[in-house]
């Protein structure tokens, strides 16, 4: 899977912005700086796919689909950071 397209990165930026706005949570960075952060996180996720996959033990590594493994990562991150 390649990095997100520019349009997708804008969509992620907008979604995240909407979330923090709804919480009225302080955002001490500018739009371009937030966009750069999202671009960098996406690039990191893209370049570390193999490392993530190899961290999953067998038989889950080979039996689960890529989407299922991504969902596991999502659920773990949600729980670790108490995200809703």
């Amino acid at each position: 899977m390649a990095v997100l397209s520019a349009a997708d990165q804008v969509a992620v930026t907008s979604s995240y912005t909407r979330l923090v706005c709804e919480r009225r949570e302080a955002v001490p960075i500018r739009k371009a700086e937030l966009r750069a952060a999202i671009t960098a996180v996406d690039a990191w996720a893209d370049s570390n796919q193999a490392s993530f996959n190899s961290a999953i033990p067998l038989p889950a590594r080979t039996s689960l689909t890529a989407r299922q493994k991504a969902e596991i990562l999502l659920f773990v991150i949600r729980r670790r950071w108490e995200l809703s």
Binding site: V10, T13, S14, T17, V20, C21, R23, R24, E25, A26, V27, P28, I29, R30, K31, A32, E33, L34
Partner: protein, 164 residues
Amino acid sequence: MASGDTLLVLGPQQGQPPATNYATLDSRNNQLVLDFDDTTEESTYFSGVLPRNYGGGGITATLWWMATSATSGDVKAGVSFERHQDSVDDLDADGFGSEQTGTITAPATSGTTKAMAIASTNGAQIDSIAAGETFRLKVARKAADGADTMTGDAELLAVELKET
């Protein structure tokens, strides 16, 4: 009327949304505001009657903003006027004068207000509105402009029109 005197004060509840990309009503601590997005340019219209004591000068629109969450970055906004001259202007089509813009930096504390004054000179920039005529004022956040760098919504609390 003397220069500097207030002509009109407009609140969020008076905003009239366009068909698309409109600023949305929101409240902050029970105070009504209009939210302007940081990615898509959004706008709203205000209608009014220019007071009879308007003396023919320019008009400065002061926009009172808050940042929903940002504590840095700049907001760029634009205002434009549309005259409704009796038996002349057909309101079926827009007829705004040229947009004038202003920029302010977000306050260091989210929730505090900051005033952005945008001056339009008398004549074409205010579409030559005369005293006693109805008009529209368009307010837009120039979210796609490179000078608009503030993350998150900009909340419009009030608009003051004063003669300059």
